[in-house]
């Protein structure tokens, strides 16, 4: 504090280092942009070391927070009690409805041989820290890689989803909250099952992005995780739709600021295996053309042909439209035979013009994944038919997207 009681030191000759340090700082930002996980290892190592201290310090702070919160509530206890009684009576009615509906859904699933819901392993964890920074909203949990916690897994409390794990140390893990700038998760809005991406913007209500322009939502519509990408389980309660300034936003159900014990859900949808390609499934065969005969490998002593006369490997590219002729026909070699590669069609096993869908069928020994042409094998009435699943997984995983954004 330069209040006149201290002498002022003379200015040092620091101009040159300052310029260099400024350049280094700019370079660090650019390096961080190129490699966003630059400090992740150091950060997790420090927090891992501090975990016992955080656990000890967090307890009185939580009590202090709880005390501060309860001071406000003291003045509204009577009114809140009346509201809670009313809400409790209504919830009891809804509980009875839910039990009946749950039994009905189970019966329908049994009748339809629906794919059973996957088992979700969960790790119960305690919140040992919260960081509310202008560009990062996160919480730290006392479970890490040592507890099989992996980045990308969903974190929920009793009310709904809070966020996702984005960084794991050995004993701790960092949660990126749904409200954070970097948070993007695929959600579905009910009723209507409208698909959207929920984007955090450091406000309490994340926005709904990539929503179809023809869709009209209403305040109070339920927002749940859609499960697209296969990283988050579908149907996790997230929040309700609110409209603010002509923009759809989501009022979250979970309160990350007050959550103490949370669950980390380990959910990985097993990837669908592609069927083995048979010769009859080659696109050339599907298009009615004669497939290229496999050419034996050229002898090692064959001299290399000049570029102008030598034939490059010819690729028979499949048409994106099933059944259509390949856009590039195999060309005969000019001077000598060259290996010809016929790439398989993206929709393998499809007859020309026959659309296919990947379908799952429930078998007694578990769910199996098969690929069937929909029109080629119509299921007979009364037989067990594979149930088509119309929403394939996308490759856009939230973790990958967050990594790109970070």
């Amino acid at each position: 504090m330069a209040n006149g009681t201290w002498k002022i030191a003379r200015r040092g000759n620091t101009q040159l280092p300052l310029v260099i340090v400024l350049a280094l700082a700019v370079a660090l930002v650019l390096l961080g942009k190129a490699q966003s996980n630059l400090f992740d290892r150091a950060r997790t190592a420090i927090i891992d070391k501090m975990q016992p201290l955080l656990v000890v310090v967090q307890a009185p702070i939580s009590e202090f927070d709880r005390f501060l919160g309860s001071v406000d509530e003291l003045f509204a206890v009577y009114h809140q009690n009346l509201l809670l009684k009313d809400e409790n009576a209504r919830l009891r009615q809804w509980r009875n409805v839910a039990v009946v509906m749950q039994d009905r859904v189970k019966r329908y699933q049994s009748l339809l041989h629906a794919v059973p819901d996957p088992d979700i392993r969960s790790v119960l964890s305690q919140v040992i820290g919260r960081a509310n920074r202008p560009f990062l909203q996160t919480m730290i949990l006392d479970a890490g890689a040592g507890n099989n916690v992996k980045p990308g897994e969903a974190v929920v409390d009793a009310r709904g989803m809070i966020g996702r794990i984005y960084l794991t140390g050995q004993r701790t893990s960092w949660v990126i909250l749904l409200t954070d700038l970097n948070s993007r998760i695929p959600v579905a809005v009910a009723p209507g099952n409208h698909q959207a991406i929920m984007v955090g913007d450091n406000t309490a209500t994340p926005t709904l992005d990539t929503l179809s322009q023809t869709v009209t939502l209403h305040a109070g519509d339920q927002v749940v995780s859609s499960g697209d990408g296969g990283l988050l389980p579908p149907g996790l309660p997230v929040g309700t739709v609110v409209e603010q300034a002509g923009q759809y936003r989501v009022a979250l159900l979970a309160d990350a600021a007050s959550a103490q014990d949370v669950e980390i859900l380990a959910f990985r949808r097993p990837p669908e295996e592609l069927p083995a390609n048979a010769r009859s499934q080659l696109p050339a065969v599907a298009a009615g053309l004669k497939p290229a005969a496999p050419v034996p490998a050229a002898p090692a002593t064959l001299p290399a042909a000049p570029t102008s006369t030598g034939a490059a490997p010819t690729h028979a590219l499949p048409s994106p439209v099933p059944g259509a002729a390949p856009s590039v026909q195999p060309k005969p070699a000019l001077t000598r035979a060259a290996p010809t590669h016929a790439l398989p069609s993206p929709v393998s096993g499809a007859a020309p013009g026959a659309p296919t869908k990947t379908a799952h069928s429930a078998q007694p020994n578990g769910a199996a994944t098969v690929t069937v042409p929909l029109q080629a094998q119509p299921p007979a009435f009364g037989t067990v038919a594979p149930q088509p699943q119309a929403a394939p997984d996308t490759n856009q995983t939230p973790a990958g997207q967050a990594d790109q954004d970070r």
Partner: protein, 178 residues
């Protein structure tokens, strides 16, 4: 012999006095970056690391070097999370401005000194905001950074008092040889 011992003691003292400002800044960053909140997450964590930087940049710039400020910002980046390098650049830019206008800042006292610090925090916050906006290519909400600025400025008064105590006790009175 006695002269050598005196010289050694003096050199050790100088080394300690040279390290204390940076160490205090590191401690301030550590304290403000602990993932603990007394306000249930309502108020963002302050930029306590800027208090010792501002203080010693005015009082003893030879003890708060640009390299030290770079290290302090780097430590803040590591602990705070978020885009890497943002606080390093912000701290160095704020330091550069303070160092350039040092005579003007050092002449302030009382409320003026607080406003001077607020200016330094404003520069650091604006730099961080602009960097993050460029980083994500869209403007983040401005209210959290304004809240952080306000909290940091409010905590400057007790923070500067503590730093002043450390300066008087550990760094010692200003010597006549500099």
């Amino acid at each position: 012999m006695e002269l050598n011992e005196r010289t050694g003691t003096a050199m050790g003292g100088r080394l300690i006095s040279a390290l204390v400002p940076v160490l205090v800044a590191f401690l301030a960053v550590l304290a403000s970056s602990l993932p603990l909140s007394l306000t249930n997450g309502l108020v963002p964590a302050p930029l306590l690391g800027l208090v010792p930087i501002y203080f010693w940049c005015l009082v003893r710039p030879d003890l708060m070097t640009p390299a030290g400020v770079f290290g302090i910002g780097l430590f803040q980046d590591i602990l705070a999370g978020g885009p890497p390098g943002v606080w390093t650049l912000s701290f160095v830019v704020a330091y550069a401005v303070i160092e350039r206008q040092r005579e003007a800042f050092a002449g302030l006292s009382g409320l003026g000194a607080v406003l001077g610090f607020a200016t330094a925090v404003l520069i650091a916050s604006a730099c961080a905001y602009a960097t993050v906006a460029l980083y994500y290519w869209h403007a983040p909400p401005i209210s959290p950074i304004v809240a952080e600025l306000v909290v940091t400025v409010l905590l400057y008064i007790p923070g500067a008092y503590l730093v002043g105590v450390v300066h008087r006790r550990l760094v010692g009175p200003l010597r006549s040889d500099f």
